[in-house]
Symmetry: D3
Subunit: 321 residues, 6 copies
């Protein structure tokens, strides 16, 4: 059961209202790597976990992330406090309100739809979706996802700290960022305290495919590194070797019974294209005097930059008449 | 630039059509951990990468994932081949088609909307979304996300292998699953060949918060482990200690100029609730003879299981008249 | 700050595993009227609220909804416990697993992607979205939304109770359902303790439009009731009266400067359709021997039911050859 | 059956084109509380309604909301008329077009993708989703949702009126806002003309939980009001009383048969974490010379504001070399 | 199987970084008509296609679209190159970063979440969704969708070319735009080389409804053209003629068995509204001194423009006291 | 302005309730090619259209599609009528209700969340999204999209007709399907009555790229047809010819000023991978006794089918001990 104390986990001291900055911070409130995603990732894992130690850790961290959601949401509420009241009371001149609300985009939606309250949207105004939560109910998988998620959250906080100069906000973001570092360390400990955590799951891989590196992107810039060379790798540069990787014909087949085979043939016949025809098409019908028209010049590229404007000029003049 | 060869990376031999199984396999075609998500994760990273070695690796693996998308999509196409033709030609009796199409859900959508073709939806019929792609343009973050993503893909393939008994499909899924293992190994090598990869990004954490473990979930079941105990952790069990973690008052505040402060006060006054009132409400208006009605029994729980059906019985009898 | 105690707000006693029932209960975990939506609705309102009493109430109820999320998630985890382990250990025969996983749809996704853990999806497998959260930061609006949301949650619990016969689950759902009733009562009290709560907001309506009822749907079945008749309503049956409602011409116009007007005219001229032409179209090109074909019969309706199958029969026979 | 007359329900007179303002108004065209959401909410309710009076009312109001969608869409079309033509004809200099289109966000999408036409997106460019429609097919629930929805729409119109100074637009928005007030009144009448409308549905609540108020958020700021105090409430401040609310142990349990129990145990054993270990982790591997680095300073908070820039300065200088 | 060569299909020469322009170009990377949508549309069609010629064409064009995705993504990466590094290294002053990142919206999300890398979002920051892919597995349908999709992509490129003045970008966009024209021509050829491609599918239409044009929108502005007049059309202006179009009563009915009929009647009775009542409602409760207040003036429209500001002035003055 | 008459455009006579069939029909109510998508596509085009003839046609057809939405929604309401009442009154035994509601997926959501009313979801339960609406405000583009959309809707109706044997439903679907054919004909007429409709828009293509066909998919199965051969095509089989298509180096470059160049270099240096290292990785840490394990067998493919079960058997036996 959850309980709440009205004191925040970190004191929020905002220097002055700034609805635009509030929109940036929404990234960590209702964004992909924000605190709700973190809380829900660990909470759903914790509910289904059999290992008592991991379950405890997951609920500890999930609960802390809810407190972080409260901290970041409180910063946003403070940054919007003036704008919210001005909107509510409608006493500013239109121009002032218009400027405060933002001309389009997230800040407009924040003001017009959400009235300046913290909303579970990201910095572009996109609603939070549980598609961000990648719990898979296998601890050696989920802990890796958690490690990655903490890394992502850390870097987003770092970017936010860099663009903010309000010292109270910087402090609070610094606290939140550091906690992601601490959580990553916990998840790493939990992962490696499971013996035999790689590969995740129970089924082994097939030996001949597990050390193969397929060099599918070739040309100038082809490189080697520990990820594709050295004794543990069987690097394949001749792509026809892996086409197919097995000893088959590289085709997709299915055994159809005769009824299915017959109706597939019927469908194919009914919808066959006549590859030898040269039919008149809608394009031909639609080609008016200028239709299908092409230019033999570029659109202004390096080689033709001098002529291009002239061409456009001429075309424009032609059309103005 | 991409090129394509009509041979698959792995030969697809399907024993017989099975539209229901096809729906399960959609999870790896248009699902959260499917091959499109993988390809797009690495492709978007590769486009923006400055390190020539990682860029090459990312494009290699992205391109291979596209080939995997082709393999899994080809299996789905084979499993649906008969159903697709039967639907197209409309020659089955209704009952047969109805049964083939599925009564509701993914298989219905697969048949009715997508006509039996492979569609970028998951096994529940939800369209693929780029919200699954967690590229953040910071290699020490992205490589961790890639490691986690490969783990997730591995476990989903393992689950699919367990529920399938078509040997050709098992073989192809085994190949695909093993390649995820190999890719995870490459990404691990790439991560650890970046010196100083933790914490990700450039800003350090704040020392006093980086080793703190907050035991927010308490009660029977509280556990210790390497993730919260030992010399590196400063574990906090008395939650008031971290409420707030800094030396402030744990409140959220903002400095408002006098104009803003005035309008906030005005708004608050206008919308104040009268905490001393006991207003009549819509609930009171709506409470008819049976409204607001409650039962003093349970709904059939362990203790009252004997009486509950009788109660329901009686109520039902009452209503039947 | 949030805290957690490992005891649930209501004891969860599940009689036996039932992954299918778990999928139905997902509606209240990750569905539109589920507990996450409730918690986030009140939490976001609470963060931005100025009135101390309402803020306290909103955080109280938000926190309780998180505890409900935990209860419903725990039921789901129990119902899936066996299936999750069987999937993880892969020891069942394929047919058993196949049957357990479900053939398509939510239960497939629950098993294959989420491994049997509680996931923030609804009963059809659609991920939770913050589009469900309708906080608007105006208390006379938000409290009405809360009242409605509690009503919706109540009815969904009622439907779930009706389809479940596990007494422990019925008990827990009965508790959760009743709490929604209690919350609705709190929100009603809070709404009506704001004097002058209608219309919401500050701007008054325009008198002549505020009592007008427009009878836009006419024909047999036109009815009267307190919502459209009586002294307070000005009911309009002659629709031309409100077309337009003001004294204008009912057209949409904008004053363009001459530059804009000129380019609009140019665009209109360039893209004008020749209404007097009768052009050959793609349809004409595509009309093969059977194209554009129509039947003068119905598809089997009441009047023609006898002939319809024969017709289909004949057509089918024709095609089989 | 629907019919259409080319005159609008309210005359639209726009003073001058303004694509930015058009983007704000999209909130009521394709936004969460916009006219499509309203029309579809009442239309889906009307189709399934058994009560002839309510069905008539729902179709009346649904149809009127479609007319409102037309009014708001027409305003948007007028505001974009010049920009649309300029874009189409491509005669402006790049800088002018660039400025007209907007640099990023909604106005860019409106211009580039939608060509200046009214689009079913909100003011942040997010496509309309039926997740906004909360029809539940129970009239005492749906009417409450309708009352809330009309309140939300009213406040959004009020905010739009406040930021617009075009008198023709203000007039039309005033009409639309007032109609929401009138609709709310109709829905209230319809709700209360159902006797016994609370609690919604048919199942009563459990008495002992229906008057309980759980004070889950405590600390300074704890308040009382009619929503949690007075004779009708049983307020619980000692949270251990409701942990659990029933007389159980507050745990989640399920009865597993022996086969399931065995495989759960096996899974748990295989994936157990060794809580006594202190494993080396990826973090340890990744900690280069500066990794795991922390700072003992704040990021510039109130107390340390003087030093913080200096610290940053120094760090930056260090890095510039 | 896919392969990749590190050379692009078209050389990308960007004159200077411009993160704002990068956001506009995202429309063709992760937008509705962008290159991923194109590639996936043709790829999913190709996988399921039976006709060898069309299959080859679909895979050819799908593969080329992937190369276009790479070109457009590379332009975006170049435009963001400076901003990405500045963000990563955090050396700019806050104001500079703040201005570079953008104040809200897409460019903020691009910078803060995606770190300046190309992301699969559109110009408003909305993630790509497979809902854009309209493959239906019927070639006479899909080829029409492809023709339309190429047209849409063409016009979006045209709009982008018009707002850009970087010659290298204009060149590359001109190449991409032209390829859409070429692809449309291929799809048209493929459609019309299927004999008998209209109507799509196999079932004929019902004759009496296939030439009927229903003039549902009437009033000033009613027009004729080849789409609704001429010998092939049976135009219906008297709408009661098509209400219903068949010879029935225009009602919706279902045959219920007596058990169902009884319970429907019971439900209807329980939830009947009393159309003769005039109940007190929540609106009445909520109407304080100013509630339900209306104004008899307009909000500042053409007729009342002179008085409106005065009214607002007065109201405002009233409130300031 | 819209008006409504209570008679349907086509009489709906349903033989008996069938909630499962109702779920299939949702595809045309709230699905991608359903009637709401159609209505909104034409309505948004009509609002912004300058050509009076096309505007009239678009509003005519948009309005008719709303009437179709009403017809299909009414069929769904009739099919669900019994289930809705049984759910509402809660009088069936659990097993009956459970069976009626459906075990998981769309029918569960339809019953539990939507109470049996028609909901704007598709046959898999996914909410309708305006991402389905592809209006682009350029008539030669939009009319092609409309033609394609009508084709898609036609084929989905055909598939529904094939799986239904209720004669009244077949009749109504036949009517709706035929109207899509008629609408396609209107849109074709409108497209070709615009002279010079290809390529869409105003900018011509670049000549040298407009007739080029790039044979990017090669190998067995390479085909020719009118879409890639004949005098109008310049077919490129040697892919290095189009790599790049222009005369550049096929690389992506941007001119950076020296400040940007410096910081890019700094970032690259900081994050460089050491390609010559062979670092220990998390995989190495996680490799327990069985970790990194691979099998040299297949998973049961054609060649090894005899051994595979034995292997699995043995493994299972091993694990059972």
């Amino acid at each position: 059961m959850f309980m709440h104390n009205k004191r925040l986990q970190y004191t929020v001291r905002v220097s002055e209202p700034n609805p635009r900055l509030a929109c940036l911070l929404l990234e960590q409130f209702g964004g992909a790597d924000g605190e709700l995603a973190a809380a829900m990732r660990y909470f759903t894992q914790g509910l289904g976990e059999e290992d008592a130690g991991r379950k405890d850790m997951l609920l500890d961290i999930a609960t802390e992330e809810l407190s972080h959601l409260e901290v970041i949401g409180s910063i946003i509420a403070m940054l919007n406090k003036g704008a919210k009241a001005q909107l509510s009371e409608g006493q500013l001149a239109e121009a002032e309100l218009y400027s405060m609300v933002g001309q389009t985009g997230t800040s407009a939606k924040e003001s017009l739809l959400f009235g300046g309250g913290p909303a579970l949207i990201d910095s572009a105004g996109v609603p939070w979706t549980a598609a961000y939560v990648d719990t898979r109910s296998e601890p050696t998988v989920d802990l890796r996802s958690n490690i990655a998620a903490e890394s992502r959250a850390k870097i987003v906080y770092e970017r936010l700290i860099n663009i903010t100069d309000d010292p109270g906000i910087k402090d609070a973001l610094g606290f939140l960022m550091t906690r992601e570092i601490a959580h990553q360390k916990s998840f790493e400990k939990a992962l490696y305290s499971i013996e035999d955590n790689f590969p995740p799951g129970k089924l082994p891989g097939v030996e001949k495919y597990s050390n193969m590196y397929v060099n599918t992107s070739q040309g100038e810039g082809d490189m080697t590194g520990p990820w594709n060379s050295g004794p543990q790798w069987d690097r394949i540069d001749d792509l026809t070797e892996v086409m197919p990787a097995d000893d088959g014909d590289g085709l997709a087949t299915v055994d159809l019974d005769s009824a299915d085979a017959k109706v597939v043939a019927k469908m194919a016949a009914r919808l066959a294209s006549d590859a030898t025809s040269d039919p008149t098409t809608g394009v031909d019908l639609g080609a008016g005097p200028g239709a299908g028209r092409v230019t033999d010049g570029d659109f202004g590229g390096a080689a033709t930059i001098a002529e291009a404007p002239a061409m456009a000029e001429a075309a424009a003049k032609d059309e103005r008449n």
